[in-house]
């Protein structure tokens, strides 16, 4: 037997394996791009806004999930000093949370927690009291589990959850703050998308029995305004790529992710330098909460707080054209409450 064969023993072999493994680990620490997958899902060519496109017919399952019962309003607007009271009043006017949340339901609440830059007084993130009120209402309606989640683009979720004040409020109300896990995005077909045909969407949002969308109404440099439809961008990966055809892609995403209820926090609204804010002079107290099962109606109404119309904001208009909801506020029943 040659000399070298006897000299390689198991112990030594294992040592070399360990050394090689350690090397591989270190190698992984070397410089790389940030942890976003670089590959783009196939999306086809970006399309320009096209006003003449006919509304796409959408499948029954993708229409607003909860049709109003006779006499119930399509949209409720509550105004008052207490964010908690107006949130509860707006939901009550739609028939109460029991209309949306069945006992035993898995509920996911999606606020806007876009960054960890500022606290909620700066109107860049959703009002914690509004979110907490929805958590309590959902639990009172018999929800089995209420999870609150968002994926910030500036700073980590851990720090943004705390800075926004939402973590404390939600935990006090009995809900869970869930961290969105990069391993749980699922490449999801978007059959009615005009530009997006598939995209990685968060599994727990797709699987939830009830999705409550709780944006804050605010200015957005790129999109004009960020409201309900835009807030759902927090449910996908590769958001940077959305901007290449932002409005159509938001509408496309909305054809797949359909919230049961949209509650727009307009307690404070950000009039300029959005979506991140930071200047209290840009914040306006409007003491309003808008709620509707129809995300397009809710956004269309919220646009009026900024002196605009739903038709002025492309993603709302595209959503209406695709049959995702009613943009014409004269065509729906609106209940206004002072609470």
């Amino acid at each position: 037997m040659p000399e070298w064969k006897r000299s390689v023993q198991r112990r030594e072999f294992l040592k070399w394996c360990a050394a090689a493994g350690a090397g591989a680990l270190l190698n992984a620490c070397g410089q790389r791009l940030p942890e976003t997958p670089a590959a783009l899902p196939p999306t086809g060519q970006p399309q320009p806004p096209n006003e003449n496109t006919q509304p796409t017919e959408i499948a029954e399952s993708q229409a607003p999930t909860t049709a109003p019962a006779a006499g119930q309003p399509n949209l409720a607007v509550a105004r008052g000093e207490s964010p908690d009271a107006i949130t509860r009043a707006a939901v009550a006017a739609l028939g109460g949370m029991e209309r949306f949340v069945q006992p035993g339901a898995q509920v996911v609440i999606k606020p806007n927690i876009c960054t960890d830059y500022y606290s909620y007084e700066y109107a860049a993130t959703t009002n914690p009291t509004v979110v907490a009120a929805l958590v309590s209402l959902a639990l009172a309606a018999g929800a089995k589990r209420v999870r609150v989640m968002d994926l910030p683009f500036g700073g980590s979720a851990e720090s943004a959850y705390v800075r926004s004040g939402i973590a404390d409020a939600v935990q006090a109300a009995g809900g869970e703050m869930a961290l969105m896990n990069p391993n749980k995005y699922v490449q999801t077909p978007i059959p009615n998308g005009r530009d997006l045909k598939e995209w990685p969407i968060y599994n727990d949002i797709l699987e939830a029995d009830v999705l409550i969308n709780v944006p804050i109404a605010k200015h957005h440099g790129n999109a004009g305004l960020t409201l309900g439809c835009k807030n759902l961008m927090g449910t996908v990966l590769n958001r940077g790529q959305f901007h290449r055809n932002l409005h159509q892609r938001i509408a496309d995403l909305n054809s797949r992710v359909r919230p049961t209820l949209t509650v727009i926090d307009a307690v404070r609204i950000l009039m300029n330098n959005g979506p991140t804010g930071g200047n209290l002079n840009d914040v306006q107290m409007t003491n309003t909460v808008i709620a509707s099962p129809d995300i397009i109606s809710a956004d269309s109404y919220a646009a009026t707080l900024f002196g605009r119309h739903g038709e002025d904001v492309d993603y709302i208009r595209f959503g209406a054209e695709m049959g995702l909801g009613v943009i014409d506020l004269n065509a729906i029943k609106i209940e206004e409450i002072n609470a």
Partner: protein
Amino acid sequence: MNPADWRRLRRISQAFFLILFLGLSILTNARGQAAPGAAPFFRLDPLLGLAALLAGRTWIAPAFLFLVTIFITLLFGRSWCGWFCPLGTLLEWIAPRMTRGKSVGRLEKWRLGKHLVWMAALGGALLGSSFYTFLDPLTMLNRAVASALFPALRHAVLHSEAWLYRFPLLWDALDAAHQAVIVPLFGSTPRYFDAALPVFLLLAGVISLNWITERFWCRYLCPLGGLLGMLSKFALLRREVEPDACTACARCSRGCPTATIDPEDNFRSDPAECIVCLDCMADCPTGAVKFRWQIPGWKPATWKDYDPSRRAALGALAAAAGTAALAGIDPVRQHPSANLVRPPGASLASIESLCVRCGECVRVCPTQGLQPSLFESGWHTLFTPRLVPRMGFCSYQCNACGQVCPSGAIPPLELAVKQSTPLGLARIDSDRCLPWAYNTPCAVCEEACPLPDKAIKVEEVQAVNAQGMEVTLQRPHVVREQCIGCGVCENRCPLDGEAAVRVYSILT
């Protein structure tokens, strides 16, 4: 207490400080303000303290904590190495058994090495550069943990987790573990380090020297050990062997981790080499080994052959002068690297003189954008911090790096001051930027800008894209007066590879 109890007490002390040091380093990694600084460890270190004071030519009141160590050393000798130093403890624990107490005769004269390093370090500091502090044992360990070992462990855990997520049945259990253990321990911030390999190899090299002989680093190379050893020549507590009780069984010399007990010289030892581990006292079957106060009859310990001669000391100072002179002609002074962004408030001057390369800022940075530099700013600022925005940006609500810096190389700026202190200036690369170069809509940089009035503004233009369609574009512009160079724009730019908006250094 009997001798065996002393040994036990020492091991408890070692374990306590090692766990405290690693615990601080690991549990609070990337936590920004929430991270308790390990500054007291570094401030207790006389080599770092003296280097910063000499090179910075400033009065740093908290740095004088190292006087405590000097005082203890003058009382008890080099007990820092045997009782406290986390690297010393690691070296003691990761020692192959066969080298225990092994004296390497031909290496004896190399005990001089550690003295040369500390003299060069302090000599360099006198001339304004704290370059050699990267060889300090605390900085070496902290750097390796913060920018190589812990990130590598995190990578291993997260990749194992990702693999398990292939099985949807496990998701509920994995979610619970992710939320309760993995994120609290490892955070959700990605960690990538350019310097991971060199930083790791330096520590690995020091540890692997243990295979030549136990505590090789402490005996021959450690500048802090050398400095404290020099002080220990004057210590009040010293090891003695009672000749009447000694049976010359040589258990003490065989077990001595620094092999300073000389069987040829009645088992006497050199206080400069003795780390007061007390193993010899515990091992002695006849109780002949004692540690005694030298109050009456104190005199400095004998100078050994391996101790620095005047010529050696002059050589070390000449090396220091040479180092400083070579550092002086580094082109970085005339032509700083365009991409070199320093932590908030730090300048080349403050980094060069005050930075002790401890890696604390790198450790706490919540985005892990701060990295130990290699040669980006010249070799003489090796392992000093720089911000790599593509890895992580300077978080608008964070000023932790300046708070944890033990020497003030990064000034402890108030948050409001930090928020208006420019680190650099963003620049749009209009040859790559989507709306500029390709008539494709994008405004992610503007969206992410944290400034209350936005340091990136967009200009709306109509253009025709490559498909011949009319599109509305928002082309970004940097507002020079507003931009603080935090780098979030560069970090978020959705282009693959290099960003189309980059932070460039500004001359300070």
